[in-house]
């Protein structure tokens, strides 16, 4: 199942078995005029790995991220999650995997505006239903505190700054203790200071918890601070270092 990664130069930290693996994955859209978003990608994401997906606009970075996160289904090839083929899974099963194993952070925070920061963070825990109310509240507050947001727990998104909102979104993505965090331009809407904070948080999460983080970014400076760069051009993986 472990496929040689397209364009790999072989320099990479040894980080254990793959959590998510793409095998010859292609994603095309359109009925008449077919557009290829990602083309024949082989890629494995392992625990403790901090990777950046880079490439010019329209190169398929976000599409690749959505395929890794089971938000999208490949036209060809197979996605494996913890060794289990995911293409044939039902929508409900894929949703369950997302809930348990994968956390998402987007360029826009996507917090539910009517809910407080704490309520937003506990949302995935409530959907999973493994903790009781008290435990969820405790964990939610701990997550917010770990991201420097203990005083923001009762605030709604519109009462917070952009950086704070994005950190709440990160806390929400970590709510169910996922093995992989997928971030799509997480600093795209943030100022330098907030971007720096987010990056530090990501680094800490990788180093301290052994999670894998895959981050889509335009910013080559940010990408340089990750452990692994996956470079896409026209949907093809051209370089991994």
């Amino acid at each position: 199942m472990a496929m040689p990664e397209t364009g790999s130069k072989g320099k990479r930290r040894p980080v254990g078995p793959a959590i998510i693996e793409l095998a010859h994955v292609t994603r095309q859209v359109g009925d008449g005029v077919v557009t290829t978003l990602v083309d024949d990608i082989n890629l494995a994401i392992r625990g403790g790995e901090f990777a950046a997906i880079t490439g010019p606009s329209g190169s398929g970075k976000s599409s690749l991220l959505y395929l890794l996160g089971l938000l999208d289904v490949p036209t060809e090839g197979e996605v494996f999650v913890e060794g289990r083929a995911a293409n044939a899974l039902s929508e409900t099963e894929r949703a369950r995997i997302r809930l348990e194993l994968i956390g998402f952070v987007f360029q826009f925070h996507f917090l539910l505006p009517e809910f407080t920061a704490l309520a937003n963070v506990t949302l995935p825990m409530r959907a999973l239903g493994r903790l009781d109310d008290k435990q969820m509240r405790r964990r939610g507050l701990d997550l917010l505190a770990s991201l420097g947001l203990e005083s923001q727990a009762g605030k709604r998104p519109h009462q917070m700054s952009g950086g704070e909102r994005q950190r709440v979104a990160i806390a929400r993505a970590l709510a169910n203790d996922p093995r992989v965090l997928l971030a799509d331009e997480p600093t795209g809407n943030l100022d330098t200071h907030s971007s720096e904070q987010v990056l530090k948080i990501f680094r800490r999460l990788v180093d301290e918890t052994g999670r894998a983080i895959v981050m889509v970014t335009h910013d080559m400076g940010l990408a340089a601070r990750t452990d692994r760069r996956i470079h896409l051009v026209d949907g093809r993986l051209v370089d991994v270092d």
């Binding site: 976000s62 929508e91 949703a95 009517e114 949302l123 999973l128 169910n176």
Partner: protein
């Protein structure tokens, strides 16, 4: 489920004005439906009650439902005949008191003999057709409400003078006669007798009060020219809705035509059925219109919440959970509207019930309103179903949205 309900309630409560408008739409629909059903059902029941109270529940008459078979028909299976005359039989029920005793043996209600005759009332030089019923005042109260309907006297006053008569109040007014006046009763065969008006009756049903006259059985027999004649047995049953079945049993047992109050008023009851169909169609239409408001609100919320739907799905919410959120929103609006509508309907019924009303046909002083939980259940059920359908369509659309397309559009 609690999470789904929490999100649904949060969405709904975040749009107070829209939610209130939607709720009021449902409430108006439910309220007016309850009011309309109460009014229509009330008037129908009031009318039927008056009709049933005025008449015996079952009348057994000295007639056969089908013409008697000729002996020749029994002997020769497929014979045609002509020129035969139906044999002349003495009018009246044979052995009426034996039949009454038998009926009293199994019937839960009461049975009374009577004589029915067509008569012409002559008074002040005018002839007016009337239905004359010869009754036994001692048993009449068991089979009809006549004793309570007597005005200006009592049923027992029929014993006071020879040839006493009680007229329907409208009939008396029509001929211009009053209590104490003497009128002439004439039968179809030309027999006449003078009778004194001892009281008036008032059933509240114009058709009866304009045509009915009551005498003792003996007086009616004299007018009919047949001593001992009993041509009708009047029956009152305990369960008025079972009258049709009881009548069928009596008919099978006695061979005489037994007509229940339902059969006697078949055309009227059919009209009520049609009226009910129309009523519930209108009620359904009102609630359907109200459900469009709910559809509009849930559609708007769904549209506004497109990004939330995407993020919920990316977090791991299933299509079913997303669909349930928006379906619940519609049901929350529908339920709140229904409860408000019930209150509104009750208040409207009370208000309408207090309005004084005079009908030329029935004796009502206020609009008759019938209160039953069934009206509330039907209106609520239809409103919730309509709300559910109104919510289901946008909810299904929301649940099917692809998160990637939304996230790309929103980024």
């Amino acid at each position: 489920m609690k999470l789904v309900l929490d999100i649904a309630l949060t969405h709904v409560l975040a749009r107070v004005r829209q939610t209130l408008v939607g709720m009021m739409g449902v409430a108006m629909g439910v309220g007016f439906s309850v009011m309309m059903a109460g009014l229509m059902d009330g008037s129908q029941r009031d009318f039927i009650a008056q009709l049933v109270d005025s008449l015996p529940h079952i009348t057994v008459r000295d007639e056969k439902r089908n013409p008697p078979r000729q002996p020749v028909e029994d002997v020769y299976d497929a014979v045609a005949y002509s020129g035969l005359r139906t044999p002349v039989t003495r009018p009246g029920i044979k052995n009426p008191f034996a039949i009454i005793a038998t009926l009293e043996g199994w019937l839960g209600g009461a049975v009374a003999p009577s004589v029915e005759a067509r008569a012409v009332i002559r008074y002040a030089g005018r002839d007016t057709a009337a239905s004359l019923t010869g009754i036994d005042p001692r048993h009449e109260g068991d089979v009809s409400q006549l004793p309570e309907q007597i005005r200006g006297g009592a049923l027992e006053d029929l014993y006071k003078t020879s040839n006493a008569v009680i007229l329907g109040d409208r009939l008396a007014a029509k001929i211009g006669a009053r209590i104490g006046n003497t009128i002439t009763l004439a039968s179809g065969e030309g027999r006449t007798l003078s009778a004194t008006i001892v009281a008036l009756s008032h059933s509240g049903v114009a058709q009866i009060d304009e045509t009915q006259a009551y005498t003792l059985i003996k007086t009616a027999q004299i007018l009919a020219g047949q001593t001992g004649l009993i041509n009708a047995i009047r029956v009152r049953v305990e369960d008025i809705m079972a009258a049709r079945q009881v009548a069928a049993r009596i008919e099978a047992q006695t061979g005489y035509k037994s007509v229940s109050w339902q059969e006697a008023n078949e055309d009227l009851l059919s009209a009520f059925e049609i009226r009910n169909v129309i009523m519930y169609t209108v009620v359904g239409a009102i609630l359907l219109v109200a459900s469009f408001g709910t559809y509009n609100i849930v559609s708007t919320i769904t549209h506004e919440k497109t990004r939330d739907i995407a993020i919920l799905k990316s977090l791991g919410f299933t299509q079913g959970m997303v669909q349930r959120i928006f379906l619940l929103e519609a049901l929350v609006i529908g339920t709140a509207g229904t409860v408000l509508g019930w209150a509104l309907g009750y208040v409207l019924c009370r208000a309408l019930g207090s309005i004084e009303f005079k009908s030329p046909f029935i004796d009502a002083t206020t609009l008759p309103i019938y209160y039953t939980w069934v009206h509330y259940a039907i209106a609520g059920g239809v409103a919730l179903t309509a709300s559910g359908i109104a919510g289901y369509l946008p909810a299904r659309k929301a649940a099917r949205q692809h998160p990637v397309a939304i996230i790309r559009g929103a980024s």
